[in-house]
Amino acid sequence: METREPREPLTGAGGLSVLDVVVSFGGIRALEGVSVEVSPGEVLGVIGPNGAGKTTLFNVICGFVRPQSGTLSWGGKPLTGVHPARLASLGIARTLQGVGLFGGLTVLENVMVGAQRFRRARLPLAMLGLPWSDADERRLRDRALVALGRLGCEDVVDRLPGTLPYAVQKRVALARALACEPELLMLDEPAGGLDARELSELGDLIGSVGSSVAVMLVDHHMDFVVSVCDRLVVLDFGRVIADGDPSTVRQDPRVLEAYLGREAVQDDALRSGGAEDAHA
């Protein structure tokens, strides 16, 4: 995948902007003044060692964690304090670490739930089983089938997620996120548990989500992240220690020390008593 020119800073309109966000859990400072921006069409990778604050950053953006200070904006509008359930209607979709599918719903129903922001029929119509409600359901079904088709899951629409291989479940989870036609797609460890072929399929898919969609992904799979992302942000101890295009970031000495170098010096780290474990 080609890498882009370094971007201009966001001017406020379009995209997600996280500014100086601070989060602490009791004594632990999970995020200490983190600023991150993603613009439409960009694939941003967020990497960092365990406990660096990546999931916390996602949770802040999704409204599950309230920051002590700092601001968030999406498409030029403030996002701080927005209820998680409103994100879908704002065009923000997220997959969860693992799969996070609804176990008792079929694959099709799972993805229909993802498309439900486009639902128009309200409770009284549904209660009386009126045709408007049925028509609404058909529309959701069509949207879900399109999303499932994009991920090659047409054959498993009536299955329950638990009966499918892990990789297929992950694709269904992605279909559910895509069914809401997001403008910001947040993927928490999308590559976990996938083999090489599935990884390259996933990479192609992320590359094809569209030029107007911003993608933000967290993953530990370094080669995958470098090949898929246009830009990388590296977190360590709740701080951004590097931000730039993948090949540059990969060479950054601080990053090498904090993260990439860890594999190389892992033996040393283990010998010196595992400072990393104490942190995580």
Partner: protein, 371 residues
Amino acid sequence: MTSKLVGVFRGSTLLRSLAIVLVAGVVLIVVTDSVSSYRNLQIAYGAYYFCVLAGLTVLAGASGQISLGQGAFMAVGGYTFAKLNASPVGWSVFPSLSGAVAASILIGIPVGVAASRLRGPYLAGATLAFAVGLPALADKFPAFFGGENGLIVNPPIAPPWLGANFQLERWEAWVACAGALVVVFVLYNLTHSAVGRSWRAVRDGEIAASLSGLRVGRQQALAFTISASCAGLGGGLLAAVTQVASPGAFPLQLSLTLLAGVVIGGLGSLAGAVWGAALLVFLPNWTTDIAGSFSLSSNVSHNLPIAVYGLVLIVAMLVWPSGIQGGVRVIKRGAGSAIRSRRGRGSAEPATAASEATEPIADEEMNASHP
């Protein structure tokens, strides 16, 4: 031509729910015409139990919440019915029943909102506390609620066009069954719409559901309120059929037996609620017979039904964890595949598709227990 009609039928939730209501209604009319007045009374009992159980089974099966307070919502419906039906208000049966539903919705909303913040044992405890606390209110205002004796309700009068000799019990059965069919209609439609799917999504994953745009608490409160309204209707029907709304009609153990009925019948399935209702009608008789034949002391025999419920519940959970309806499904599926394998593969495919399209929605969709 016919295939087109079948397509329209299958695509329309309204037509399907109306068909169920119509068939069940015709069957009930025929049955109530041919059985004794005692049996008609039992049908009426079964119908009001069904209302409560159907609401509870959707609450527990689809939205994953539990309520030990359904008896209290029945009391709300029963007392409201009695108050509206008697002078000075003097409404007739059906308006009074609507009032009973409205009252249980009004009380169901705040309880449902509170319940949506609680999980597991806390939810069970809070709803139980509600079931214990609400009847105490009736004790506090004996002048208004009639104290221990409760409120007397006039027998419902069959409309004149049914003839002068129309049996009271048969009319009571009709009224109660009409209520049950309304419940079937509404719950069938809801569980086959985006609403039912949202409940099941919230049940299976609250974080994923809210990321899909669902307000978890609101969905749970909605499911709770709807099940409360079903219980309120059941309670109103109980008052209409038994002609009394008294503390003794809504004891604490009623809430427990309702939960047992739902679990034994098969969680999450409207058909299971029919089994549960039948159980609730017949089990007390059986236990009374047993108690009589063993000449047990009244102390023991009074508590026998609840003990038997407990026993049946434990046995059912061990043998048939998905309830009676779960067992019926297994038998039906076994029979279905036997027929299909005899018919050979060619005709088997469409048959599978058809049964797959109709059956699972009827019962299984709300259950997580697919094989």
